[in-house]
């Protein structure tokens, strides 16, 4: 009798602690799975050129989601602000480049994980000031990291193997007999690789966030004094957040260059990119994984679509559309933040709650 009850207790909690306790969520995830694994790779996105849909929307979106997840861990979950995301993503990209050129036979997955780890170490080093300073001052410290690192990406020519162009470029490289990266790799291969990476990283992040370490981040974020009096070491909590976050950002940086752009220079990791990722996190919703998805997709897709529609439907000049889409995006960001400061994730939550009651709101 007693045993039975404890057993039930346990299974009840375990269920409650699962990633998607709700049936509706499970269905939603299933649909998304079919779409991303089958429908989109076969047919692309409705109304868009297939190459464009994959190369300009799907692949970059997924990479930016990883980036946003990374920054959200630091900013949304641990409450530590960073303007160095662009540069940290660069660390991952350059590290990946060095790994695959120094060890041409290295497995791509291993190279990717190692690049993430290098980025994590650099993140921890530049995260050290967070032990002493907060808020604006920390922002300035990470800004210094941003400028120092982009400077290094240009000046330290060892990083790009003394190329005359100063760019890092993906050579053709195989894994299990399939060309994964480089000019000869197929978009489909890269799509699937990025998709699987995204799923794995999302799953790992959601696990960490719901466990002991994730809680220690949120404790530091919400009330650092109380956290310390409960036994959290701020040093461990903050630096682990910097490490975990930079690990994701570094992997995203490597993916960005070698699974999407094909080649990149220091510019791809500049302060503008740091701001772009910050927008994605804030628009999506601080401290929300769903929000990271929504923010990255919104901030990336909206301007791309506006540009595309402007060009193809109205025949506007690309340069004009570029500016126009930036302005429109800016306006939309402001409107969303006024409507709901907690971002798209909260808007979605509210809508979902309303839908659940529909059509009998009581």
């Amino acid at each position: 009798m007693f045993y039975k009850e404890t057993g039930q207790f346990k299974s009840k909690y375990k269920e409650e602690l699962a990633a998607f306790p709700l049936f509706e969520d499970k269905i939603g995830i299933g649909i998304l799975g079919v779409l991303t694994f089958l429908v989109i790779p076969l047919f692309g996105l409705p109304g868009l050129n297939y190459e464009f849909a994959m190369g300009a929307i799907m692949i970059p979106c997924m990479i930016f989601i990883i980036m946003t997840l990374g920054l959200n861990i630091l900013l949304g979950f641990a409450g530590q602000i960073s303007l160095g995301t662009g540069a940290f993503s660069g660390v991952g990209a350059y590290a990946f480049y060095k790994f695959i050129t120094i060890f041409p036979d290295i497995n791509i997955i291993i190279a990717l994980v190692l690049s993430g780890l290098v980025s994590a170490v650099v993140g921890v080093i530049f995260g050290l000031p967070s032990l002493r300073i907060k808020g604006f001052y920390l922002m300035v410290a990470t800004l210094a990291a941003q400028f120092f690192l982009t400077w290094a990406f240009i000046r330290v020519s060892w990083l790009y193997n003394y190329n005359a162009s100063g760019a890092i470029e993906g050579p053709n490289k195989e894994m299990f007999g399939i060309i994964m990266i480089g000019p000869q790799s197929s978009g489909m291969t890269r799509y699937y690789f990025v998709l699987v990476t995204l799923i794995v990283l999302t799953w790992l992040a959601s696990n960490v966030i719901r466990g002991r370490i994730g809680r220690s981040w949120m404790m530091i974020r919400d009330m650092d004094i109380a956290a310390e009096l409960i036994g959290i070491r701020p040093l461990v909590a903050k630096l682990s957040a910097f490490a975990f976050s930079s690990f994701y950002v570094g992997i995203a940086g490597a993916l960005m260059v070698f699974f999407w752009l094909g080649a990149a220079e220091a510019e791809s990791f500049d302060i503008n990119h740091s701001f772009l990722y910050l927008f994605m996190v804030i628009i999506g919703g601080l401290g929300s994984i769903t929000g990271s998805y929504m923010g990255a997709i919104f901030v990336w897709v909206v301007p791309v679509l506006i540009k595309e529609i402007g060009k193809s439907a109205f025949g506007f000049d690309a340069f004009v559309m570029e500016n126009f889409s930036t302005i429109l995006l800016g306006a939309m960001i402001i409107i969303i933040l006024i409507l709901e400061p907690h971002g798209l994730a909260r808007l979605w939550q509210i809508t979902k709650q309303k839908l659940r009651l529909w059509p009998f709101p009581y």
Partner: protein
């Protein structure tokens, strides 16, 4: 309490604490017996909260010694003190506002959880076992404090009285030997105060937890406390049973006479 010689759990000796020119605590000594409810009272600004902050390592006194479990304690950081089994609640609620009730209570278990980042990432095997095991204990505490209905509510949206109770739940989740409560009933109505008093007594009697309690409501103090320390302007004014303290002329002059 029986009459055999009580065991001293904590003793503060000749504590002096200054903030620049402000003297917060001046030569205060007292002890806390194992298993008792020890009240600390005194007018506003007497140094009561500062005393708790000294005990849990948040303030480091310029002079004085702290003895815990029969040993002189070296200067410690708050997270180290937490490890020695001392938990507390705060005068101004210090909950984790972005988290739900159950999550807040779970934070009290952090020190007892230790599965590493790799297990955490997989949330499988030892990590999930650990999570479930501690979760179960937290649910029991939540049941005990009768806050079941707000388990999943973000604490920021809870009324004040319930927030105080969640804070107590979080402290209890640490399963402390010594529990420091800084005005746990401040701002509560009579009914809420009665509930809180009942919980404090039950924690003390059923779990054997030693409690140091700061409280302004004298009726509550007289009711709950085994012994009372009175501070005034950072100095020790009196120390004894509620009865002794109540009839102490210096205390009456300094404190009891002052209406609140």
């Amino acid at each position: 309490m029986n009459e055999k010689a009580p065991k001293i759990m904590m003793e503060v000796k000749n504590i002096n604490l200054r903030f620049g020119g402000v003297v917060a605590i001046q030569g205060v000594s007292f002890d806390i017996h194992e298993g008792e409810i020890r009240a600390i009272i005194g007018p506003n600004g007497a140094g009561k909260s500062s005393m708790l902050n000294v005990i849990n390592g948040f303030y480091h006194p310029q002079e004085g010694e702290i003895w815990f479990d029969g040993q002189k304690r070296p200067s410690m950081e708050p997270y180290e003190v937490a490890k020695t089994g001392i938990a507390r609640t705060f005068q101004n609620i210090a909950l984790f506002k972005g988290m739900t009730t159950i999550e807040n209570v779970m934070t009290g278990r952090q020190l007892q959880m230790n599965k590493n980042i790799f297990w955490q990432m997989l949330r499988y095997g030892p990590a999930i076992e650990e999570e479930v095991q501690h979760r179960k204990r937290c649910e029991e505490i939540i049941d005990f404090l009768e806050i079941n209905h707000i388990r999943k509510t973000p604490v920021g949206s809870l009324p004040y009285g319930l927030q105080k109770r969640v804070e107590l739940a979080r402290a209890l989740a640490m399963e402390p030997n010594l529990l420091l409560l800084d005005e746990p009933m401040a701002g509560m109505n009579v009914e809420e105060k009665q509930d809180m008093s009942r919980f404090i007594v039950e924690v003390n009697e059923e779990f054997g937890t030693t409690i140091a309690l700061i409280e302004h409501d004298m009726a509550v103090v007289m009711d709950l406390a085994d012994r009372v320390v009175v501070l005034d302007y950072g100095k020790l004014l009196a120390d004894g049973t509620p009865k002794e303290v109540q009839s102490n002329q210096a205390v009456i002059d300094a404190y009891l006479g002052v209406p609140h």
